[in-house]
């Protein structure tokens, strides 16, 4: 075991309970404490004596325990692991297991080096010229603004085409029904009644149609004459017969009906 003052932070040397407790509280975990202890060896972390470091840590934890300070579990876990490491390092080489204590010690050393490097880096980073502390930005920048403006584009063809489409879509539609001759129901009724009055024989419906009519007029006349025949049958003035589906439709006047 080395010199006591070497192992303890200067202000912990007062052996004050609270001071020691606060010291422990001030370390961020066992690795932090180990790094601090290692720094007290005042050598490059690569040259550090791990064995001496382990002893310092164990002594520290022992003293803290003796003072009935509550130690965080991870400090005790680290202490147990370091005690194991120490015993392994002191054992004859032949009895060593894998991983070797040298490897474990090296691992600890590497971890301390890395933490030490980052701690220094953090300090150097914080010491740089920082905006708002060492250098200052423009206090009242005017600010840059970009207003978006839409420029519309079209062309004359689109314009007249659109107008054409409006006109075509909305032009009043004139439905030409001229040249579509029809026979109205009234005229068919008149014609069928008149022709039925001439005879009591059966007549086929096509005999009632105007003989020289165009095909269109014939279709209209057929429909109207059929409806007229139905109307006359309803009024009890004619009877209608058909032998089978699609067979000629026959009509004749009822005898007692007045013509």
């Amino acid at each position: 075991m080395n010199d006591q003052s070497f192992m303890f932070p200067p202000d912990a040397g007062r052996q004050d309970k609270d001071a020691l407790y606060l010291e422990l509280d001030g370390w961020e975990g066992p690795l932090d404490l180990l790094l601090d202890l290692a720094r007290r060896q005042k050598v490059d972390l690569r040259q550090i004596s791990i064995l001496a470091l382990v002893d310092q840590y164990l002594t520290y934890i022992e003293r803290a325990g003796a003072m009935k300070l509550e130690l965080a579990a991870d400090y005790l876990v680290m202490a147990a692991w370091l005690a194991y490491l120490k015993s392994a390092m002191l054992l004859p080489k032949a009895e060593q297991e894998d991983p070797s204590p040298e490897e474990l010690a090296l691992r600890l050393q590497l971890r301390l080096q890395r933490l030490g490097a980052m701690r220094e880096a953090a300090a150097r980073l914080m010491g740089r010229d920082r905006i708002g502390r060492d250098v200052f930005l423009r206090g009242a920048p005017e600010g840059l603004r970009t207003d978006r403006k839409t420029v519309w584009r079209s062309d004359i063809f689109s314009l007249i085409q659109a107008y054409g489409q409006v006109k075509a879509r909305t032009a009043p539609r004139i439905y030409h029904v001229a040249n579509r001759p029809v026979m109205t129901l009234d005229s068919a009724l008149e014609r069928v009644s008149a022709m039925l009055g001439v005879t009591l024989e059966w007549m086929e419906i096509r005999d009632f149609l105007p003989p020289h009519a165009s095909p269109e007029l014939k279709r209209s006349a057929l429909a109207s004459s059929f409806v007229a025949a139905l109307e006359l049958a309803k009024r009890g003035r004619a009877e209608i017969a058909q032998d089978s589906a699609f067979a000629p439709l026959r009509i004749r006047r009822l005898k007692d009906a007045a013509a």
């Binding site: 200052f136 930005l137 423009r138 206090g139 009242a140 005017e142 600010g143 840059l144 603004r145 970009t146 207003d147 978006r148 403006k149 839409t150 420029v151 519309w152 584009r153 079209s154 062309d155 004359i156 689109s158 314009l159 007249i160 085409q161 659109a162 107008y163 054409g164 489409q165 409006v166 006109k167 075509a168 879509r169 909305t170 032009a171």
Partner: protein, 206 residues
């Protein structure tokens, strides 16, 4: 001026420069002197004069207003602070129709446009045409409700390459060009997928 000789700025000049740069509001020479730890206001004034001279031809000027000093962008570059970015967009079909109707029938009211088009016209469509600078308000129609009436602008003639509205083809010419043919189903369908249609969602056929 062609070239000027610039001396290395002195410490006071640099300190005043930095102070005014970082200041959130214009400062008097006395305030700058106090800020820099009790300097003579007179020395600060001398530094301000040197700085004012140095920045005179630059993109940033040091200016004094009401005895307070501050940096600001050179007046001839003020337009750089607020820039307009132009975005070119094609006029939607609905807007083109409305524009065509106004061009052929001007001056027309919105109700008249709608009756010619056979569909309702969203206010946005007229706004777009106003924004484009192609139509203008042309007074009110002296009928009940006194509706606003619209007409085209000289910019409209310009954009569409017309020397006057009389250049617009007449109905007979449109018919001859086949532009009055009834819109067939295929055309109707193709118009339904017109990407311009997307912004016409608020319109519906009456």
């Amino acid at each position: 001026m062609s070239e000027e000789r610039q001396e290395e700025p002195g410490t006071l000049e640099r300190a005043v420069e930095a102070t005014l740069f970082a200041a959130e509001a214009p400062m008097t020479a006395a305030a700058i002197a106090a800020h820099l730890g009790g300097l003579e206001a007179g020395d600060v004034r001398a530094a301000l004069a040197t700085l004012e001279q140095h920045y005179r031809n630059r993109g940033v000027h040091l200016v004094e207003r009401d005895q307070r000093w501050h940096f600001e962008t050179a007046p001839d570059l003020a337009h750089l602070l607020r820039r307009e970015k132009e975005q070119v967009r094609r006029l939607s079909r609905a807007a083109t129709e409305v524009l065509a109707i106004i061009a052929y029938h001007e001056p027309v009211s919105r109700a008249e446009i709608e009756s010619i088009r056979g569909v309702q016209t969203s206010a946005g469509t007229l706004d777009v045409l106003m924004e484009a600078g192609w139509i203008r308000l042309a007074g009110r129609r002296e009928v009940p409700g006194r509706p606003v009436i619209y007409a085209t602008t000289p910019e409209f003639l310009d954009h569409f390459g017309l020397s006057s509205r009389r250049d617009l083809p007449g109905i007979d010419e449109l018919r001859a060009a086949g532009l009055l043919d009834p819109v067939d189903e295929a055309l109707e369908a193709s118009m339904r997928f017109d990407p311009d249609e997307a912004d016409e969602g608020d319109e519906h056929h009456t």
